[in-house]
């Protein structure tokens, strides 16, 4: 199994701001934030990928400022908590200590991984930062997203992804989809992370999906039935082919939980952790029966992205506080990464220029 394991590479998330967010940001800047550049809690959303070559972005809209978790978010979307920092000047925006900002956000995630809070409340694993500057006079909006993750050394490795459909037959796939759809929605919308319990039967028998549950069940499922069962950690994947970015923190949280749960704690733990990661890209249909009238049939399916499985190997030596770790102290987090690349593929902020949209003369001309 360990053969052909290469560095597992993740597709970075891409942040998508829509203009409604910018107009709302402008309004709050004028009436609410004024000169404050204190962090503001916001939310973003992403959908699992449903195109085989188009990744789903993390969207931030006007309703990003609505508090109260997932209220008003369609059930097809996963909610991601984020932190907005709106700088007062372009100079501030440029000079802001991005490394420190990212380090702090990542440290909070690390804390949640080591304490076990991350498995119980998986929305803590996928967070984002959004640094903005709104030039309200020229209608230019500067922004930069970060999706904090950790650069591990050595990086996690994985065998080439196996299509989910090669492991599960149609009825089992369907059971998995239904199990996922039946998961209770949390205050954070559609669960982005979850766990799957499988029974393997005796050798040669096909794998059966036994249960789909919240991520917090994964640890207990993992060791179940004397090795006749296995458990996968799963991500609703915004990436259509490669493992999506949020899987990075998921894997690390799972590794941390294993480490924590092992009674042998320090002593005889293997330095390697093996996990099975499911990148889930199944359509989750609407509920309820079709509209009463006749005349519908299933629509020709799109060339949808397919779910894949990775067997991941992580070298955790020294990651979680050396030998004597245990429940107490946590080690220093690995280095944080995650500032988004610009449209040229280099680390850098983005600029949305609405001046053409906002210029009264231009809009009048366009409206004719």
């Amino acid at each position: 199994m360990a053969d052909r394991a290469d560095t597992l590479r993740f597709l970075p998330l891409s942040g998508a701001i829509d203009v409604s967010f910018l107009t709302e940001l402008g309004r709050r800047k004028l009436h609410e934030f004024k000169l404050s550049d204190a962090p503001v809690e916001i939310r973003g959303t992403f959908a699992p990928s449903n195109h085989h070559e188009v990744a789903s972005p993390l969207c931030v809209s006007a309703d990003a400022f609505d508090s109260g978790g997932a209220a008003g978010v369609p059930p097809s979307l996963c909610v991601v908590p984020g932190t907005l920092i709106n700088a007062n000047t372009l100079e501030d925006f440029k000079e802001w200590d991005k490394a420190e900002l990212l380090r702090k956000a990542a440290a909070a995630i690390w804390q949640d991984m080591c304490s076990g809070a991350a498995l119980a409340e998986p929305h803590r694993l996928c967070r984002f930062l959004l640094l903005t500057f709104a030039d309200l006079k020229t209608h230019k909006y500067y922004y930069w997203f970060a999706f904090p993750a950790f650069a591990l050394d050595p990086p996690p490795r994985a065998t080439p992804p196996a299509p989910l459909a090669s492991l599960l037959d149609a009825s089992q796939l369907d059971a998995l989809r239904r199990g996922y759809a039946a998961l209770p929605a949390s205050a954070h919308g559609r669960p982005a992370f979850f766990a799957v319990r499988l029974s393997c039967g005796s050798a040669g028998e096909p794998v059966q999906v036994a249960e789909v549950g919240p991520l917090s069940r994964w640890l207990e499922w993992r060791g179940g039935a004397g090795g006749r069962e296995q458990a996968w950690i799963a991500l609703c994947d915004p990436s259509p082919q490669h493992a999506g970015w949020p899987a990075r923190n998921l894997l690390l949280a799972a590794a941390a939980a294993l480490r924590e749960a092992s009674p042998a704690a320090a002593a005889g733990l293997p330095s390697e952790v093996r996990l099975t990661l499911l990148c889930f890209r199944e359509p989750v249909g609407g509920g309820g029966p079709p509209p009463a009238a006749a005349g519908e049939g299933p629509r020709e399916p799109k060339s949808a992205a397919a779910s894949t499985l990775y067997n991941v190997t992580m070298d955790v030596r020294g990651l979680f506080g050396g030998g004597g770790g245990g429940g107490g102290g946590t080690a220093a987090p690995p280095s944080a990464v995650g500032w988004e690349k610009n449209s040229s593929g280099r680390p850098g902020a983005r600029l949305m220029d609405l001046s053409a949209q906002m210029d009264p003369a231009a809009t009048a001309a366009a409206a004719v």
Binding site: F10, P12, V54, A149, S343, G348, M358
Partner: protein, 294 residues
């Protein structure tokens, strides 16, 4: 406008007779769409723009970040895929041409490679060349890049990250659209609004927007206006003008019925979106439920 203000709210159903919709029927049809195609959701919009004849939290429907991989003109237009839906008031020439009614986008195998080439080219060109290097896309292709070059981080901010995928990942950057459907009280129908973003997340210009409208409709039925429920600050949205919607819907209803099928107001938006997809054939929004017999 004034005409809308003066028009009384339609209260009795005339869906079968005229293809029009009451506000209540719009809400009912919207509920079905949200239920069946969860990428759509209801929005409240700006409170001071709320229409009193619709529930406060169900003023319009939205689906966001809908990919649009190709320009409408690049669709192979076979005559067999075309179907003329006449207006039913003897205005045959003005009728809707229901091309590409199945919303199917044929993939162009070389497209991703062309994009990858363009990106590679831009990398070689370096920061200053990035703005000029977008030759593969027309006019506004490299938009925003000029302003972004100066925002790049000079020094190394982050550790080396062998786990991150860079370019050449086979993932295609596309234009995306926010698609909304409002209720038009004057025309007593749904009305579609589009706000588009380029591959590099810049708002599309009017000329660029028109590239995603089928040639049959580009200059006839598309207008740029303020969205009725969204703050003016967002700028103008492209709208498909609803003056013919009722007659087309009536025609579609008649065809369903002549095929021995039932037509009811809750189906309205599925039929409607299918017909709208002939106007914007490459914007891949979801209306999962196919309506046969058309």
């Amino acid at each position: 406008g004034t005409a809308e203000y003066l028009t009384p709210v339609l209260t009795t159903s005339q869906f079968l007779e005229k293809g029009v919709l009451t506000p209540d029927e719009f809400v009912e049809a919207g509920d079905q769409l949200v239920l069946r195609c969860p990428t759509w959701s209801w929005q409240a919009g700006e409170p001071d723009k709320a229409r009193p004849f619709l529930p406060p939290n169900k003023q319009y429907l939205v689906t966001r970040s809908v990919p649009c991989q190709r320009r409408a003109a690049s669709l192979a237009s076979g005559a067999d895929a075309e179907m003329l839906v006449d207006g039913d008031e003897g205005e045959g020439d003005e009728g809707w041409s229901l091309t590409h009614a199945n919303h199917k986008v044929e993939r162009q195998e070389e497209a991703p490679d062309m994009l990858a080439d363009a990106v590679a080219h831009m990398d070689v060109a370096g920061p200053s060349g990035a703005a000029a290097g977008g030759g593969s896309e027309d006019a506004g292709g490299a938009d925003g890049a000029a302003g972004e070059a100066e925002l790049e981080m000079g020094g190394m901010v982050e550790a080396d990250d062998p786990s991150a995928l860079g370019g050449g990942s086979g993932i295609v950057k596309t234009r995306t659209y926010d698609v909304t459907i409002t209720y038009d009280k004057y025309y007593q129908s749904g009305r579609v609004w589009l706000y588009g973003y380029s591959e590099s997340r810049q708002p599309l210009t009017q000329a660029q927007l028109l590239e995603d409208v089928s040639a049959d409709h580009a200059l006839k039925t598309v207008t740029l206006e303020s969205h009725p429920h969204i703050a003016e600050g967002a700028g103008l949205h492209m709208s498909i003008h609803p003056c013919k919607h009722a007659s087309v819907m009536h025609k579609l209803v008649a065809e369903l019925q002549s095929a021995g099928r039932e037509a009811k107001p809750p189906q309205y938006l599925f039929l409607f979106l299918k017909f709208i997809s002939s106007v914007i054939p490459t914007i891949e929004y979801d209306y999962t439920v196919a309506v046969d017999g058309l």
